[in-house]
């Protein structure tokens, strides 16, 4: 492929998305079929950005070749240039967008005024982008100026996030914070100037500018704590992601070539994923939020939007790659093993995690390792959610104190979920890992196109809106999870299902039960839900039911009355038997 592939924005409507990941490069093509946008296919190839190949074009070319072969539709000409269609249905692609999840190893320092306010917010802000290390210090941590100075010089951060004070207030401490940072920057070797994001009291923004702009690459953002009781991360997040993109381009020169190729429509995949989740929330306004989870080799990404407010947390320590070495303790290994239907010795899990951390792209080849990876996914999702939960908007409504807030839908991405041998396994991983409460829909990004579409939103929103309701995503199931207290076996929910053909079906769900009600894709149905025992299904208050209209999906409706939080039997044999019976029960109903 040649860099001369430019000027691709032509009238026909085909959209090609590229995602350059640390292990795989993916290409996906979307086009108009019978009047509406559809996903046509995708091609994957190992990424070639790392040595020994050390550049991106080969990986892209091979992914395009695979896509082209799968669709029997030429995408590049014999010279490697992308074909540009003049009429609908012709070969090639007219619109392009690209995302990247490969990240240069970044060292970030969060430097705040107080540990409970500015520093907490800065750490949440830092989590919007991937980092190799995240250190934190504050002006109240008991260290002297010289100790702060030595720490900054020892760390040599690539990026320093600094904040303190609420707008309108005055504080000598903010001036000291800026001065200490300015002194540290002046003592760093020439050429090592860090990127500094000042997100503090706006009254001192001009002081920060005068003291820091000659010593560092300074970006000033709105205060992330304009009032002591108010956190507003989004404006700073936007600036941070923009700055991160610039930093990535400096470190990875091939990114600039890719950006030219896609006429600027290039972004970091985690943020693009968050953007899609926020957009979904706009399409589904209401009390419920929208949740996105992406479990990949580089990180677990949690994006949650409530009332339009996006919380994005990129958590490398919960990814399926090098982050796995953080979960080698006995408690973590026991917790991973507790999700497995098979008996997996701790030593086996430990060695598997260590080897997987070295080669995260390797695929499981035995029933034991598939089971282990899915157990691991449950554990990582639970841990990542626990970590990300405090960053969610205060407008999030939960049926349980620590549980997943009410969301509609949950968009799940990541190769482990998308490549599961069957959708029931993906469903169980999501049910156990996220433990949704009330009523929600689980949507699987089975072709791993969510980040690409999130990026495409900036230029091609109409196309993306159509794709959200297309075959681009797999609607796994509607989940109904009643919450309350009752003995196992006690009826907790009555469901009457009416189909358009007049058929009706009545069910009673007992506490502890996991039941699948198959409703074919596209088949409309109406569910009358009556909670018993004052159970809450999120229809207003405990014991309150109502009517739910839905259309069938890959698996239909799953009623999860196993309790929130889900308590597994303490006895290992009994626990494995219980997990196996839930899985077998769903398989039998499907």
């Amino acid at each position: 492929m040649s860099d001369s592939m430019d000027s691709l924005f032509l009238p026909p409507e085909s959209l090609l998305t590229l995602d350059i990941g640390s292990s795989m490069t993916r290409a996906a093509l979307f086009d108009v079929v019978e009047g509406s946008y559809n996903f046509l296919g995708s091609g994957n190839a190992p990424s070639t950005i790392y040595p020994p190949a050390g550049e991106m074009r080969r990986g892209i070319r091979w992914a395009l070749d695979e896509l082209s072969a799968a669709l029997d539709r030429p995408l590049v000409d014999s010279g490697g240039r992308l074909l540009r269609p003049q009429l609908p249905g012709e070969s090639g692609a007219s619109h392009l967008s690209a995302t990247y999840s490969i990240a240069p190893p970044l060292k970030i320092l969060a430097f705040g005024l107080s540990p409970d306010y500015s520093l907490t917010s800065l750490i949440r802000l830092a989590r919007c982008i991937p980092c190799q290390s995240l250190d934190a210090m504050d002006m109240q941590d008991g260290r002297r100026t010289d100790e702060h100075l030595d720490e900054i010089l020892r760390l040599r951060p690539d990026l320093i996030l600094v904040a303190g004070g609420s707008d309108g207030g005055g504080s000598q401490a903010v001036i000291e914070l800026i001065d200490t940072l300015a002194l540290a920057c002046s003592l760093l070797p020439a050429g090592d100037s860090p990127l500094v994001l000042y997100c503090g009291n706006q009254a001192y923004a001009s002081l920060a500018d005068s003291r820091l702009s000659r010593l560092a690459h300074l970006v000033i953002t709105p205060n992330l704590r304009p009032r002591p009781d108010q956190e507003n991360l989004e404006p700073a997040m936007h600036k941070l992601v923009e700055s991160y993109h610039q930093l990535c381009k400096q470190r990875l020169p091939w990114l600039s070539r890719l950006e030219n190729l896609v006429q600027g429509n290039l972004g970091y995949s985690g943020y693009a994923f968050g953007r899609l989740v926020r957009y979904l929330n706009r399409l589904h306004p209401g009390e419920k939020g929208v949740m996105g989870v992406d479990l990949s080799a580089s990180a677990a990404t949690i994006a949650a939007t409530f009332s339009g407010e996006l919380a994005l947390q990129v958590l490398p320590e919960y990814g399926l790659g090098s982050g796995l070495v953080n979960h080698l303790g006995s408690t973590a290994l026991k917790s991973i093993a507790s999700w497995s239907r098979l008996e997996l010795p701790e030593a086996f899990i430990r060695e598997y995690l260590l080897n997987k951390s070295l080669y995260p792209e390797s695929l499981p080849l035995t029933p034991e390792t598939v089971e282990l990876e899915q157990s691991l996914a449950r554990y990582l999702l639970r841990q990542a959610l626990r970590q990300a939960r405090p960053a969610f908007s205060t407008r999030a409504v939960s049926l349980t104190p620590e549980g997943l807030p009410m969301v509609e839908p949950v968009l799940a991405s990541g190769a482990l979920l998308a490549n599961a041998p069957d959708p029931i396994q993906s469903l169980l991983v999501l049910l156990d890992g996220l433990q949704p409460a009330g009523i929600s829909t689980l949507v699987l990004d089975e072709h791993l196109v969510a980040p690409g579409l999130g990026q495409a939103l900036t230029k091609f929103p109409t196309q993306v809106v159509q794709l959200l309701g297309s075959n681009a995503f797999l609607h796994l199931a509607t989940v109904i999870a009643p919450v309350g207290q009752a003995r196992p076996g006690t009826p907790v929910l009555r469901i009457n299902i009416s189909y358009d053909n007049g058929d009706e079906n009545g069910l009673e769900i007992k506490q502890g039960e996991l039941r699948l009600i198959p409703i074919s894709p596209g088949q409309p149905a109406r569910l009358q839900l009556t909670p018993l025992q004052q159970f809450d299904i999120g229809m207003g208050s405990p014991g309150r039911g109502g009517s739910l209209r839905l259309t069938g999906s890959a698996l239909g409706v799953v009623v999860d009355a196993r309790g929130r939080p889900l308590q597994l039997p303490a006895n290992p044999a009994e626990r494995r038997q219980r997990l196996a019976s839930w899985s077998a029960g769903l398989q039998a109903s499907n």
């Binding site: 190992p46 040595p51 190949a53 430990r350 260590l354 080897n355 792209e361 490549n419």
Partner: protein
């Protein structure tokens, strides 16, 4: 397509950069022959500072301190120099507790950058300076065998090595009284017992190059004071036969071939750096046997030697024979397939991502 590359070469010209991460004084010249202990470059990597409260020392208000200063910002001071004062009847002064440079005076506080001995970067390898890197260090070239691994604990050493395995499958065991251990890099099979790390430490071994490491030894290996490099992975895996044969054959050569630079730097995928052992070879530089070491660009083509990754095939080796494209595997997982002919002659269909090249 491209896959990770793990290098193994018995004889080649190997070049390695030795660089400091900050502006440094480079002490070698191009073409200079160097030994492992020679210093390549010097720099003060993390200077220390001391904040002195002049206002408190002089018992003066903050805004009065300036008139008593004896030095300004940028001044180099010696230990005992009067920085501020004298003040009052008792002639109070603040002296420099250490030699250094004044970097800030503000709000009655003086910040002194303490003079320190610069950090030194040693060659770590015998060889010739092939190229200087301005203000950072140099590139060293030598004729050597190169053996790369998968994991290292970020330390390095140069020492003679001893092979403590009679066959590739022997697990590594150590005797505390073994007089071969002190100062040597110990090469062996799977290291599965905690005592091995303990004896290696207490006997003063210089390093450990093992085929694999028990998962429960990960933290101890990470914390060990000597370098540890793992060739295959975590668990019980033998030494790859070609590596075993190379090491055994070197030990039958004259003593100059019994040394090893063990660099347990972690694998960095963004560069071409992996944990590795470099074994300098005493060979005539003009010998036709020496390869200019140029690893394959990582492009996939049938015939390439590959190493298999992931349970249950980790550590096996074979030759790539076919790329059948999207494939389903016995576990039900889908992926891009690759057919590999194992050393024993059987063909195996595997995900392409479960392979790495041996280059």
């Amino acid at each position: 397509m491209s896959l990770p590359l793990i290098s193994f070469t018995p004889l080649a010209r190997v070049r390695r950069s030795r660089l400091l991460p900050a502006p440094a004084r480079v002490l070698v010249r191009k073409g200079q022959l160097i030994e492992p202990d020679d210093v390549i470059a010097q720099a003060t990597l993390a200077p220390r500072h001391l904040a002195l409260d002049l206002a408190a020392g002089l018992r003066q208000p903050t805004d009065e301190v300036e008139r008593y200063l004896q030095f300004g910002v940028g001044a180099i001071v010696s230990q005992g120099d009067v920085l501020a004062g004298p003040v009052g009847y008792s002639k109070r002064v603040v002296r420099a507790p250490l030699p250094g440079k004044i970097v800030r005076i503000q709000q009655g506080e003086l910040v002194l950058q303490i003079a320190a001995q610069p950090d030194e970067l040693r060659a770590g390898l015998p060889g010739e300076i092939f190229e200087l890197v301005e203000e950072r260090g140099a590139v060293i070239e030598l004729i050597a065998a190169l053996v790369q691994g998968v994991w290292g604990n970020n330390r390095s050493a140069y020492a003679r090595f001893v092979l403590l395995a009679a066959t590739p499958h022997d697990q590594l065991t150590l005797n505390a009284g073994d007089e071969r251990l002190p100062g040597a890099i110990l090469v062996g099979g799977a290291c599965l017992q905690p005592e091995v790390l303990h004896i290696a430490q207490t006997s003063g071994a210089a390093g450990l190059l093992v085929s694999s490491l028990g998962g429960d030894l990960y933290e101890a290996a990470q914390a060990a004071s000597f370098p540890i490099v793992i060739l295959e992975g975590f668990g019980n895996y033998p030494i790859p036969a070609p590596i075993f044969e190379l090491l055994a054959s070197l030990l039958s050569q004259p003593e100059e071939d019994h040394f090893m630079a063990l660099n347990a730097r972690p694998w960095d995928r963004t560069k071409i750096t992996r944990p590795e052992a470099i074994l300098p070879r005493n060979v005539n530089p003009d010998s036709g046997e020496i390869l200019a070491y140029q690893p394959d660009l990582g492009l996939i083509h049938p015939g390439q030697m590959v190493r298999l990754l992931g349970h249950p095939h980790l550590g096996r080796r074979g030759r790539l024979v076919d790329l059948p494209g999207p494939s389903g595997f016995a576990s039900g997982i889908q992926g891009i397939g690759a057919t590999v002919r194992l050393e024993e002659g059987t063909d195996l269909l595997l995900p392409l991502t479960n392979l790495e090249f041996i280059g």
